[in-house]
Chain length 116, copies 2
DNA sequence: CAAGATGTATAGCAAAGGCTATATAGCCCG
DNA sequence: CGGGCTATATAGCCTTTGCTATACATCTTG
């Protein structure tokens, strides 16, 4: 979950000027608000985000790094799925599921395939 | 987890003549014995396995169907990963992680790729 | 056939990730 | 500047998947 959260926060940061709020995550993830609040507490505990009470959710340096790495992995997988003929709709969804379970070795094979 | 368990039981059935026992799953999954027992209770509740108390673990018809479908999916993914150049060691492990998260659509794309 | 080894069951605990209901803080507007 | 709306926090509950410690049953073997 941690990766999903930081990746999402990272993306949302790029889409809205005045910061990411809990409610944005609630909407994007389609879960109940207390679920997001609780998860953010864990992420905070793990040093991935910083939450201004009742205000914005910010990524720490560590969180941002993880987000960038996750996003890159995500995009590699989406590109790869598209390349083997998976329609765009499914590619996005499947990548979400897959991205936390592929080794660096398999990612390399995907990149190799893409640059063939 | 359900799929992992029934798939494993199904495979172990083929490897040993006198039935699958809890201890076989404990060893294969590398978890503590009470974890397996408890999970088997849930699978039993869900009608996937039948447990002879202190004896064998059997698949129900429903469990066997799920196991076969899971195994087939697993093998498709392993073959596919091997085909794009992932070494055998990683292919097995990654397939385990991936197999619960790919849509039928993506599986079809993999099969298409394999029969190209 | 009794002991010890092996296997299984049971009790109790924890963390993650969900939920609902409710309280409270902050913001905007009349 | 007070009320209401919106956002966030808090309390309390649930299930899954893990664990350890311990009790009990079964099997094997001397």
């Amino acid at each position: 979950m941690a990766e999903d959260y930081v990746e999402l926060i990272y993306r949302l940061e790029g889409e809205s000027a005045d910061g990411v709020r809990t409610v944005d995550l609630v909407e994007a993830l389609a879960v109940a608000q207390p679920t997001v609040t609780k998860t953010l507490e864990r992420l905070q505990r793990d040093g991935l985000v910083e939450v201004e009470p009742r205000r914005r959710v910010l990524l720490t340096a560590k969180g941002r790094e993880l987000a960038q790495a996750s996003l890159e992995r995500h995009e590699t997988i989406v590109s790869f799925l598209l390349a083997i003929g998976v329609p765009a709709t499914h590619a996005e969804l499947d990548a979400e599921g897959i991205e936390h379970h592929v080794s660096e070795t398999t990612l390399m094979a995907m990149r190799r395939f893409l640059s063939r």
